[in-house]
């Protein structure tokens, strides 16, 4: 076969391009996975001096959800989070990223509050430490305080039931 080699190269290229089409360039693998959750100690939303810190969460499996009232994708995700908080005992912490506390409070009053606590990251420094580059983002932290999974972009009902809940179940079974 004269054309076997060029045809082979062509098919290979086609396969690579096809695979490339299905990839999401926004999903950058986080270097945080398997590493301790970056520390912060930030004022809580409407907390009257209360603070939120990952260090206080040791021994628990929890989810950090990065959101903002100016983020339109967060709006579609919010209902999923509210449903999640209602039907399971997920420990959900919010990181309110570069937002106005008043706007954030209004948003939660209007659409429901799924968070156990919300930390105010007004200048986005904690966001940088967590490698946040596009809200919404969600991180799963295990009982030893290690980041185990990152979801970039809005969580959907499918990712929650298909990936998040089974992972939380598994991490709880792992112990501390």
């Amino acid at each position: 076969m004269r054309y076997a080699v060029p045809l082979g190269i062509f098919v290979l290229l086609l396969g690579l391009l096809w695979a490339g089409l299905g990839m999401n360039p926004r999903e950058i693998p986080s270097p945080l996975l398997g590493r301790p959750a970056p520390a912060f100690r930030l004022p809580a939303l409407a907390g009257q001096g209360a603070q939120v810190a990952p260090a206080d969460m040791l021994g628990k499996v929890w989810v950090l959800n990065v959101w903002a009232s100016w983020c339109s994708a967060c709006r579609s995700e919010h209902q999923v989070l509210v449903d999640l908080a209602k039907r399971s005992q997920v420990l959900l912490l919010g990181l309110n990223y570069k937002d106005q506390p008043a706007d954030a409070g209004e948003w939660l009053a209007q659409f429901g509050n799924p968070y156990a606590a919300v930390a105010l990251d007004a200048d986005g420094r904690a966001g940088i430490d967590w490698g946040v580059y596009g809200v919404p983002e969600s991180f799963v932290v295990d009982q030893r305080g290690v980041v185990r999974r990152k979801f970039t972009g809005p969580l959907t009902a499918e990712t929650v039931s298909g990936e998040l809940l089974p992972l939380l179940e598994k991490l709880r079974a792992e112990g501390g």
Binding site: V5, I28, P31, P38, D123, I128, Y133, G134
Partner: protein
């Protein structure tokens, strides 16, 4: 005077074109030494903005790029970190993706080696085609074919 008018317009347009350059994303910064400034500006061109992924930190208008410029500025001027330390800080948070020149490792060898592999494949292909062309040699002068051709031409007439 007509000519004078034109040159005035030309000057105005040149000034307009230049005006845009003053309003880029880059903040006005103060440095204690030219080396520090060179380090800062060099880093901004070497680091990728994660929001507009085809832009570096120097060119990007994204808000995150502005925050990261502030961060890099503080690391260079206040903390006195060198190039490697600043890069390590960002790689620990965002991964090798922030570097326009990522290190050679298992996940990047194809990126670094790919062009050379392509060059090799192309070179081999070229060499084979060239060798084939030579092997065929000059076209044989076949008498029967020549007669057939002449017959066809005569039929035409």
């Amino acid at each position: 005077m007509r000519g004078n008018n034109w040159s005035r317009w030309l000057l105005l347009m040149c000034l307009w074109a230049g005006a845009g350059y003053g309003q880029t994303a880059i903040e006005v910064r103060q440095f204690s030494s030219p080396q520090q400034q060179a380090l800062y500006e060099g880093l901004l061109t070497e680091l990728r903005c994660l929001v507009c992924q085809n832009e570096n930190l120097a060119d990007s208008n994204a808000e995150l790029a502005g925050d990261l410029r502030n961060e890099v500025y503080a690391m260079v001027t206040q903390q006195g970190l060198d190039e490697q330390a600043v890069k390590t800080f960002l790689v620990q948070r965002y991964g090798n993706f922030v570097l326009y020149r990522p290190p050679v490792q298992a996940s990047t060898w194809l990126l670094w080696g790919g062009p050379f592999v392509m060059l090799l494949v192309g070179g081999v292909a070229l060499w084979r085609v060239a060798r084939q062309g030579r092997a065929v040699g000059p076209v044989e002068d076949d008498l029967s074919q020549r007669l057939a051709a002449r017959r066809l031409l005569e039929d035409e007439e």
